[in-house]
Amino acid sequence: MEHDLVLVIDDEPQIRRVVRNAVEAGIGKVIEASTGRAGIDLAAAERPSLIILDLGLPDVDGADVCRSIRAWSAAPIVVLSARGSVNEKAALLDAGADDYIAKPFSTIELQARVRAQLRRARLAPAAVPAHVLEIDGASIDLAKPSVKRDGVAAHLTKTEWQLLRTLIQNAGRTMTHRQLFHAVWGNSHGDMQQYLRVHIRSIRRKIERDPVRPRIIVTEPGVGYRFENELPP
């Protein structure tokens, strides 16, 4: 939609130019900041619908920019990074970023990710869908709660429901291992990685068409899991 305002925070003018051209080709209008400090101020003043933040800014750490914007704004933050390390990615998602794109990215990929985040942001945040969710042959009713795979009811344990609910409430957004563990178990005890994997596998066996090739709950390697709100054709 043309009225979306996108803030680009990047110290490199060439990258700002590339991102501006990609976003202004049918997504929205762009405003630019070349430092983290200026970016935070501009975000407060202009209230953009989405923020594209390049890491490696000279003045402020990227995770700090995320945290300070996230403290008062729900606008999606899409991070660009040349490092592409999963630790960095997980740390930024934990700090409140919504998506992470590794450089060099293609214009098409950037546009798709930005559009997806804008769509997601327009939906009511963290609301339990009232209707029954139908996805890839699975129907999930969080209100009842009940789940059916190809019309056949499956039983989920309490923990599995909590995990599935958390993923669905954040559909389209990668939830880090830490975020999922915190939402389901509350505090950190025991072997978080192992618990999560046991339950994810168990849920996949109940809702996925082929649990070895999951399409509904996808793995973001080294970072976490994501409930897909729109399946690729």
């Binding site: 192992q194 994997r197 596998r201 080294g222």
Partner: protein, 361 residues
């Protein structure tokens, strides 16, 4: 303490010369000395020698001065006989004191040396860690400096392609190729420099296979990907770095697709074998000769007659082996029954106990 042999002989010679000198001096004034003076003078010589020359010299001097004490200073002089029984006590007490003192000195020195050695080890480890950190910082900077301009190149090429110049698409593709090559080189540097920090966690086999299938989707040139999990109802857990192991597995699948005849399926599976979790990738390619099966894991190795543009950098398998070994696993290659090759990647298996789910419901 280790002392070079030339200086050791020097210390021994000086010590015995000192003992002889002290003895001669004391013999000259023997009438004015009593047993305590002699014992203390000898003790000083023995201890000084122990400090410089170690335990062996200390003990040798202690015994020699014990004999000299008896010969020169305990009546009757010039014999080892002893007239006064109380002199036996003086002599034995002297011997014990010098031996114990020499021993204590030796132990104190050994402890000091040990501490010094430990401190040196700690210093070395710390400097190694710092070197690794700075190497990694350099790699991160290189990665940033190469990838940022590639982003601009790709972005501008896309704009030009949109404007109708098809050549720009090639620019974008080549930028991707360059990026892939840079990525491989960086991985290779991290693995060979030992700075690749592995995040070994309990991970599940199906999760890894699914992620691999997702990553290679659409780039297998029409080769069907067949996944096997054995046993299909069990849970296969292993201790490995998910991201790095995924990279290895994807590399093996890409290789299989590169060398398989058109339309031949690529089979990938996971199974438990003894204390290992095995991931295997089987193709129907032309197979790899026995003589080549070790060499293909060497960096930059190219198979005879292989076109330069086929295998990319020739680093994939050496990176795979480096990663596998860093997490206490292996990558091996065997001929496949009926033609082709099977690559097997192993990681240490983990047995789940009953409380492993954390499920309180």
């Amino acid at each position: 303490m280790r002392i070079r042999s030339s200086s050791r002989w020097f210390v021994w010679t000086v010590s015995f010369a000192a003992l002889t000198g002290v003895t001669a001096a004391m013999v000259a004034v023997r009438d004015r000395l009593n047993a305590a003076h002699v014992a203390l003078a000898y003790l000083i010589v023995v201890q000084l020698a122990s400090v410089r020359g170690g335990r062996a010299l200390g003990l040798s001097l202690a015994v020699t001065s014990f004999l000299a004490f008896n010969w020169f200073f305990l009546p009757p002089y010039g014999t080892f006989a002893i007239a006064n029984p109380i002199d036996w006590f003086v002599l034995v007490a002297f011997l014990m004191t010098s031996i114990i003192a020499a021993e204590l000195l030796y132990r104190a020195q050994a402890l000091g040396a040990e501490r010094e050695r430990l401190e040196a080890t700690t210093r070395r480890a710390r400097s190694l860690e710092e070197t690794n950190r700075s190497k990694d910082a350099v790699l991160a900077a290189v990665s940033h400096d190469l990838r940022t301009p590639l982003t601009t190149i790709k972005g501008l090429a896309h704009e030009i392609a949109d404007a109708g110049d098809e050549r720009a698409e090639i620019i974008e593709e080549e930028a991707d190729r360059l990026n892939a090559f840079v990525g491989k080189l960086l991985d290779f540097s991290r693995v060979t420099m030992g700075t690749a920090a592995l995040d070994v966690q309990p991970n599940e086999a199906e999760d890894l296979l699914g992620a691999a299938a997702q990553q290679v989707q659409g780039r297998l040139d029409g080769h069907p990907l067949v996944l096997h999990v054995e046993p299909s109802d069990g849970m296969l857990f292993g201790g490995f770095d998910f991201v790095q192991t995924l990279r290895v597995l994807v590399n093996l699948i890409d290789n299989a697709s590169k060398y398989s005849p058109a339309g031949a399926p690529i089979e990938v599976g996971a199974r438990r074998r003894d204390s290992s979790l095995e991931f295997w990738v089987a193709d129907r390619g032309s197979g790899i000769a026995e003589s080549e099966r070790q060499r293909i894991f060497e960096p930059f190795y190219r198979r005879p007659g292989e076109a330069l543009n086929v295998a990319g950098a020739g680093l994939g398998l050496s990176i795979a082996r480096g990663i596998a070994e860093a997490q206490r696993g292996t990558v091996t290659l065997a001929a496949r029954e009926g033609g082709g090759s099977v690559f097997t990647l192993t990681v240490p298996a983990i047995d789940l106990d009953a409380t492993s789910s954390g499920d309180e419901s």
